[in-house]
Amino acid sequence: MSESRVAARRIREIILHQSKRANVGHIGSALSVADLLAVLYTDVLRIADPRDPERDRFILSKGHASLALYAALSLRGWISRQVLDSFCQDGSILGVHPDRAVPGVDFSTGSLGQGLSMGVGAALAARLADRPHRVFVLVSDAECNTGVLWEAVMFAAHHRLSNLIVIVDSNGQQALGYTKDVLDIAPLAERWRAFGWDTQDIDGHDTEGIARAIEAISKGPGAPHVLVARTVFGKGVSYMEGQIKWHYWPMSDEEYARALAEVESRP
């Protein structure tokens, strides 16, 4: 099994374990991006040290999937098992939304629609300082409801920030319903393309495919890049997949055991 697939399984296990221990929700949102984060943190992000000014930046704009990020950061060794186990405890730096106090978190997020603007600033800063690093921003499809996201999309295209790579976690769900019922944003890839972005439509759970898509991104000057990643909300736990209630719901003991068994048996 590839390193990224092993990481994806570990990330899912950590998501389940920590959300069960803390008795919190947002499990489905975190599982949705587990494969994307596994690839980013094993194959893609060039981060020798989370304080290196020339490190690639990563912004989890959909901050409520923080557990997936904490899991990835713990696999990289930037947060200890002890810190990971403090998730959602009193006095912990690991809350439901990531704060930049956490080693490896570049920007605090949690208010949807804010991450991409900060990422645009980070990408512009890299260009102005003539630094080679890239900026990755993971947004949710529901974040595309926000007007300010499109302000950032327009600015990045206008200034041809080719060092900016956005991944849209297109799981088709948001807090209270399916995106097609709440505020239909389809066809998402066409919309990004129409705004001048280099757009790829990918399977957000195919770790090898994700890595290939990022590898295929042109290194030269040009448009900013977006991967519209088709994902399944709650991916890997059959009874959560595509179910609205798992946006907020925590697991019972029985549900936890079943979820963990499914994740551990996944090839």
């Binding site: 000014p53 930049r100 570049d106 920007f107 605090s108 949690g110 208010s111 804010q114 991409l116 603007s117 900060m118 990422g119 645009v120 600033g121 980070a122 990408a123 512009l124 800063a125 890299a126 102005l128 300082a129 900026v135 300010v148 302000e151 950032a152 327009m154 600015f155």
Partner: protein, 309 residues
């Protein structure tokens, strides 16, 4: 103050390559001293103030000192949550320059009147709030705060001619500046309407009423020690601000009086009530809201008369 701001910023930018300037498509005939000199460090982000603050946050994280510019309502209120979750939460040196505090854009109507900008910005801990009273003070204030480690909000006036007599461009972060000393009452003025407070003190002097006039330009960090010492010496203080009476200079003085248990009576001269559908010049609107020199004199005389009976 706009020209003083742009010229001073351009001079600073010459010495420090970290300084950038972003505008939300405003600043015609104001920002050219910077934009013409540093075209590659100047970004018109379009009418997109939230994005502008977000971009500035990303730039500041990488070590730049981005200044963002717009009319004060658009610079503070529209992107307020971005300011809160960006430079304030991340403790980054983003500078928000809001032009047209109070009724400086009088004829432009209520959408352009900056009547709560200082109040909302003062709510944010760690955000310095600087409201100069004239262009010379704006220059000094910028020179002494541009390199602060945390975020700063500058509330700027459009007027590059008016001068507050006796201020001589003085500014100290966390201090008041006294421009006149007297014994009968205390004026505390914030922003360019300070010229009206200074003129009111002149008019009162002719009638034998002597005033101390203090300029409140460093709203945050508040000049707490200076305010306490001054307020303790007077039975009557009047705050003067082209701003709602809630949240700005009047609220700050009230907080000091209450927390320190001072016996000073406070009258907050400022804007009260809902926005009126009435346009007009800055002078007209100052008069309408009791902020012209004549109405300030009347308010002071009325209060002194009450105090003496």
């Amino acid at each position: 103050m706009r020209k003083a701001f742009a010229t001073t910023l351009a001079a600073l930018a010459e010495k420090d390559a970290r300084i950038l300037l972003l505008t939300g498509d405003l600043g015609y005939m104001a920002l050219e001293p910077f934009s013409e000199k540093f075209p590659r460090r100047f970004f018109n982000v379009g009418v997109a103030e939230q994005n502008m603050i977000g971009i500035a946050t990303g730039l500041a994280e990488a070590g730049f000192i981005p200044f963002v510019y717009s009319i004060t309502t658009f610079a503070t209120l529209r992107p307020y949550e971005f300011i809160r979750n960006g430079p304030v939460l991340h403790r980054l040196p983003v500078r928000v320059a809001g032009v047209g505090g109070g009724f400086e854009y009088g004829h432009a109507g209520p959408t352009h009147h900056g009547l709560e900008d200082v109040g909302v910005m003062r709510l944010q801990p760690g955000l310095s709030v600087v409201a100069p009273a004239d262009h010379a003070q704006a220059k000094t204030a910028l020179l002494s705060t541009w390199n602060l480690p945390g975020p700063v909000f500058y509330r700027l006036g459009k007027d590059d001619k008016s001068v507050v007599p006796g201020l001589d461009g003085r500014f100290d972060l966390g201090r008041l500046q006294l421009i006149r000393e007297g014994k009968d009452l205390l004026w505390i003025a914030m922003g360019s309407v300070a010229t009206e407070a200074a003129a009111a003190a002149d008019l009162l002097a002719r009638d034998g009423v002597s005033s101390t006039v203090a300029i409140l330009a460093s709203v945050q960090p508040a000049p707490a020690a200076d305010l306490e010492a001054l307020l303790a010496r007077f039975p009557l203080a009047l705050t003067v601000e082209a701003h709602y009476v809630v949240g700005g200079a009047g609220s700050l003085a009230a907080e000091i009086i209450a927390e320190k248990g001072l016996g000073c009576r406070l009258l907050r001269c400022g804007v009260r009530g809902a926005p009126e559908p009435i346009g007009g010049s800055q002078d007209f609107l100052h008069g309408m809201h009791g902020l012209s020199r004549d109405s300030l004199v009347a308010t002071a005389k009325h209060a002194l008369h009450l105090a003496r009976t």
